[in-house]
Amino acid sequence: MASSIFGNFLLKGFDASTKIDLTTDTIKVALADSTYTPNTQTHDFFDDVTNEEAGTGYTAGGATLATKAWTVASATVVKFDADDVSWASSTITTRYAIVYKSTGTASTSPLIAIIDFATDRTSDEGTFLISWNASGIFTLTY
């Protein structure tokens, strides 16, 4: 599948009970292996994500994004960006990165976006680094 935002990101983002503040909420990125079958239409909370990475150096739930920025990038684009994220001294084989709002409870943590690495990517006692695109993690064009 191609990288995408989750449909429910917008749905939950505008829902008063699950609203998402991309700047102040705890936004995390988790890793899942290739046996996870993403569904950007029906998967809405983090408990829908299966086969999360469990390798050495990776903590369940993933890493918290720092220096988050949700900004108007141009006349027609808003952009979400954050610092690169990495797992040092890790042994990881993974296919997907899932961006989500963490409430501390998987069943109430709304999914935001999924990045498909296209193939398994592996670190072996080394650093697994996700270097976000210069244009951001995701954009919304209006």
Partner: protein
Amino acid sequence: MAVAFASVSAVATATTGDVTVTKPTGLTVGDLMICFGLSNGASATFNLLAGWTSIQTNFIPNGTAMTSRAQYKIADSADVAASSFVFSGTSDSKSAVIYRITGHHPTSPINTSVYDARIDTANWADNGGTTITPSVANCLLLMFTGLKPGTLAISGQAITTSNPSWTEDFDNSTGPTIAGAHASRPETTATGAVIANSTGDATTDWHIIFIAIQPPIDVTVSPSVINATGAVLTPIITGGAVVSPSVINAIGAVVAPSKMGQADWSTQDKSDTASWSNLNKS
């Protein structure tokens, strides 16, 4: 951090029995220690030290009977506290050294290795017996050579494919002749045959142990940005008319009550031109 040669102990020799090798300088917990030893005798052995892992070993009875062994250990606190390491074997002459390597894979430092031997050979340049193919990039290559005792020297260490720049770390001709050299090589292609030259004798007997030490494997993922598009949908227009609906204004009105105060309104004149008056003047 790249896997790198850090230091090597002084070459230790023994005419019989155990050989005691001093700790390489700067040894710290987590460093990789690699010992290369050579023993010369009709049934020579060079033993594996407790807690160490053998990389390659072989005994060749032909020519000058010799046994060589390479073994490794990830240094722990006891190793750091030690001043030397004692390697045993048969009561034959021995030579040994210990390398200190840093930046290596912390649990599986040896990527690949090979052993080979020749007798009565002036220089080593075989046709593939010593080739190795590292499976990851930027391995540190170690080339250990062991020759029969004599006033020999080894030089010109190289490989035949994508040859990097080699540094000879030691070259000892006291007792069994041993030499070692290292080089960093980014390629993961086969190295081709090892090349080394000996001087001091027309021909000699060779042991070669060739090792690739691997670094930790990093990965950097650079995903494309996800672009999501929001759109205002055009309404479907039927009947050929362009409908441009105005805004819907919801108006709130105060509804007039049915009575106002206590006034009682009525009419006296029922004619069409009747006028209204208030009979109750209250």
